[in-house]
Symmetry: C2
Subunit: 205 residues, 2 copies
């Protein structure tokens, strides 16, 4: 797949998912930095790429664009080892992608973002604690999963694992300790051992 351009920000776990899959698949691409802190994703040139004003967004060689990190993973993984062929396993992958965007990212990623960006008033502290509690519930479900199986779906790594990896690996930056989840930490290590693996960048923002 030639001529890809990824619009992204280094602190984004949603962006890292895409960069990680591109690296695992050894696909070259052009990386364009958009500073989310300066509102660059709300400017007209970017809204023409993603009307929803969010990174990551992927532009194909012919100019067409895709948004939503997990949809980009789905697009890139089809026909590779990172997306199963079996209909039931494919639906299980999709189930994890949906769960990640509904229960995992809005708690674990948002807690991390708030810890770095918000002045912690008492009201916000209470909301942060709620996010952290829900994030821990999400990690508990993952711990149960990885205590029974090496990978999220079937017997091989898939885009379900990639979607779950990025924000889980930096959950502690949002005040959520990974210590209570030993099976999940072993899975994080298995992910980091994949040929072509790249880690999340440390927070610099």
């Amino acid at each position: 797949m030639d001529g890809l351009t990824l619009y992204d920000h280094p602190e984004s776990g949603n962006g890292h998912k895409v960069r990680l899959l591109l690296s695992l698949l050894n696909i070259d691409y052009t990386l364009v930095f958009k500073d989310i802190h300066k509102g660059e994703t709300r400017l007209p040139d970017f809204l023409a790429i993603n009307p929803n004003g969010r990174i990551p967004a992927l532009q194909l060689a012919d100019g067409r664009c895709l948004s939503e990190s997990n949809a980009i993973l789905f697009f890139l993984a089809e026909g590779t080892d990172y997306m199963p062929q079996d209909p039931y396993l494919r639906a299980k992958v999709m189930s994890w992608l949906m769960w990640e965007q509904y229960e995992h990212e809005p708690t674990i990623a948002v807690a991390r973002f708030w810890c770095h960006h918000l002045d912690m008033t008492p009201d916000r502290k209470a909301l942060l604690a709620e996010k952290q509690t829900k994030g821990k519930a999400a990690l508990a479900l993952m711990e149960k999963t990885f205590s029974l199986a090496e990978w999220a779906v079937g017997t091989d790594p898939s885009i379900a694992d990639i979607a779950l990896y990025s924000y889980t690996s930096v959950a502690e930056e949002g005040g959520i300790s990974l210590t209570p989840y030993p099976a999940m930490r072993q899975w994080l290590n298995r992910m980091a051992a994949l040929p072509g693996f790249i880690p999340m960048d440390p927070w610099t923002g």
Copy 2:
């Protein structure tokens, strides 16, 4: 596809998506009511079906289970007219499914739920107003989409439209008027004219 059992609750738009697609595809299934208000989805028998404790969940004839409404749509639609064949259009469908679970359901569906279930303290009123504001932004993006095209992706209805339909059709139950979105209301009418269409049940809870 024979022998399907759907675990569901009549007030759930996530459940309605699945019932709507099954009806459009003329697929028979057994419906099992789980009372979310009485915690029936947190009991061991249901957690064996979906460890995440949420309806809808679909059980196949062989006993295997799927959760996450949009993943169930993906499973049922593959090979039918409701899922395109073209890789780019398939990714666009996926992009809408992800967007719906991240930006639409957590605002529009949650506002509706709160309006029916929560005692409205001043704090909750403020949070509800925030949900409604974000819900309106989601509907504005849909209005822009449907002012340019008849369907969410390509030239035909797909599971992207089905995923967007259910909670949009009852947004007013969450205090979000549909009046400012004429192109979107025309799309709602197009959806309701599909052969086999079934509407959301009125709220009874």
